[in-house]
């Protein structure tokens, strides 16, 4: 239980600071100040300023907004994509099942990050493209999980009873099977969100994710890399935000799993 609470507290803190970024930020995250480049840590700029004199703390707060939105959107997309197709495969079976299963097997045969990189290379860099790329790359796990869960539930006695009462396939799946494994999917989902935060940061760091000047944790860190030795705080600060956010999702996932285990 304790980890779930730490996770929740961290999440509220990180998400809250991202939502309230506009009011919390001491400066405009996009406004340059050419008379104050690479400034060190001070009361005015708690994490210093970057190569254009922009306030790093304000950029980290604004970046969190972008990074969290992208990670959560991609998680929702990947769960929906894998989940719906998994339900289709389990519900229809036959050729549909075989074709879908083989397709996702082939996707799984790619190293994850390479697959995301290829999708981004095809679609071009950008926020929406990053969401799509991670959504596609993450989907095989959800396809497999949903398909396996749904197949097991469809074989169970209570679903057979529902069928005997005349429930359609859609109703059997949606009303009877899905509520039984939604919790397990949520555990996996929180863990995926933690991973996607790190992946988005890596992509933006490589210049293939969120395009500048919109700040995201990844591209704020990309900036920071170029003057790492001159202004280390600009790299340390946003990284801590990112790690805290990722940790909070991981804890939420662990805590959720503990809760579900106790119920069973």
């Amino acid at each position: 239980m304790s980890r779930a609470w730490i996770g929740l507290a961290l999440f509220v803190l990180v998400a809250g600071s991202a939502v309230l970024a506009m009011w919390l930020s001491p400066h405009d995250p996009l406004a340059p100040n050419y008379r104050n480049l690479y400034a060190g840590v001070s009361g005015e700029h708690p994490l210093g300023t970057d190569g254009l004199g922009r306030d790093v703390l304000s950029r980290s707060l604004a970046g969190g907004r972008v990074s969290l939105t992208i990670a959560l959107a991609a998680t929702a997309l990947t769960m929906a994509l894998g989940g719906v197709l998994g339900l289709l495969a389990a519900g229809i079976g036959g050729l549909t099942d075989t074709v879908l299963s083989r397709f996702f097997d082939a996707l799984l045969a790619f190293p994850g990050f390479l697959l995301i990189l290829l999708v981004v290379a095809i679609l071009g860099g950008g926020s929406l493209q990053t969401v799509l790329a991670m959504g596609v790359a993450g989907s095989p796990i959800y396809f497999r999980l949903t398909r396996a869960f749904a197949r097991a539930e469809l074989k169970s006695e209570y679903v057979t009873a529902a069928r005997a009462l005349g429930a359609t396939r859609v109703r059997q799946l949606w009303r009877h099977a899905v509520p039984n494994f939604l919790g397990s999917l949520a555990v996996q989902g929180a863990s995926t969100a933690a991973t996607f935060l790190l992946v988005e940061a890596s992509l933006s760091y490589l210049g293939l994710g969120v395009p500048l000047p919109t700040p995201s944790w990844g591209n704020v860190l990309q900036d920071a890399r170029s003057y790492l030795t001159r202004q280390p705080w600009a790299a340390v600060g946003p990284g801590l935000f990112l790690a805290a956010a990722s940790l909070s999702f991981q804890f939420l996932s662990d805590g959720l799993r503990d809760l579900l285990d106790r119920r069973d």
Partner: protein
């Protein structure tokens, strides 16, 4: 040949074919075809068309598909658009850096991950277990490249033990492989954490089995029991090891960028930004082939190590 080897062999070939087919279509879905980019900005439509014919893009898709697999069988990956030489040569040149880095990172994560995992699993709740939990939690939450920054700040900038960037002009030699230590540690830490988690879970599982109770009750020393547990638990770690080893060939992309190491990672990144599609395709083909191959070898190893898995399911 035993039946299980045959089915495994067939599934390997089918997976590889499916993956390479996906790559074929993915590369053809890239915006702007290779001929347009080769021709440059002031090429006329006729010049582009001539180029298309020369590099085989004017042919029908099935003919291109046949030529693609024909080329693969001869290790012919086409010519790099930017460097105007065979992609195979580019890859051979860049491979040693990535292989050395991946090898160092793999060994490090193996020792650290299995060591911590087994120690933690043998004494659940003890100090080693709690330290391992802390380590894995933190290591899996921090972004890899950012951890690289911290290592650079501490060991390269403050202590000066390592250079801040890259390899000397002489390239990769025995002496300059010292420069690969920080990047290898950066890569190894999160992978060691994953490995430690799984190894710990496998050891905990084995501890509960009957033979362990028997061994304890007949008075076997704890160290001997520990050896039995480890040797039964560790084959279960093989699939993750394979994912890790196979994934390292492209897993180094971000770290190569952070440390400025001219390996496969920088090659594919350069290929993407210059739209040098044959290079992107070449690195991808090499990486997925190795990935599929290593995972398949691990499956086979597991079958060899554990006869129970050979029964048809």
């Amino acid at each position: 040949m035993p039946r299980y080897l045959l089915t495994q062999g067939v599934s390997f070939v089918v997976t590889l074919w499916a993956v390479l087919t996906l790559v074929f279509f993915a590369v053809r879905a890239l915006p702007g075809d290779a001929a347009t980019i080769m021709g440059g900005l002031d090429a006329t439509e006729e010049q582009v068309q001539t180029l298309r014919e020369r590099i085989g893009l004017a042919r029908s898709v099935p003919a291109q598909y046949a030529a693609y697999f024909g080329g693969l069988l001869q290790a012919d990956l086409g010519d790099s658009l930017r460097e105007r030489r065979p992609v195979t040569n580019v890859l051979i040149e860049r491979l040693p850096v990535t292989l050395t880095l991946a090898g160092m990172a793999f060994l490090l994560s193996l020792v650290l991950g299995l060591g911590l995992g087994v120690l933690a699993g043998l004494r659940p709740g003890g100090p080693a277990d709690r330290a391992t939990l802390l380590f894995t939690t933190v290591a899996l939450a921090i972004p890899e490249f950012w951890f690289g920054f911290l290592l650079i700040l501490l060991f390269a900038v403050n202590l000066g033990w390592f250079p801040v960037l890259g390899l000397p002009p002489s390239g990769l030699t025995l002496a300059s492989s010292w420069n690969l230590i920080l990047p290898a540690v950066t890569l190894a830490i999160p992978r060691a954490a994953q490995l430690a988690r799984l190894a710990r879970a496998r050891v905990l599982e084995e501890r509960r089995s009957d033979y362990v109770r028997t061994a304890r009750s007949k008075g076997l020393l704890p160290a001997a029991v520990g050896r039995h547990i480890a040797s039964n638990a560790l084959p279960g770690v093989l699939p993750l090891l394979a994912l890790e080893l196979g994934g390292l060939l492209t897993g180094t992309i971000v770290v190569e960028q952070v440390f400025g190491l001219p390996g496969l990672g920088l090659t594919i990144l350069g290929g993407i930004s210059a739209r040098d599609y044959p290079v992107v395709q070449g690195v991808t083909i090499l990486a997925v082939t190795v990935y599929v191959l290593v995972n398949w070898l691990a499956d086979m190893l597991q079958l060899v190590a554990d006869p129970r898995l050979r029964a048809p399911t």
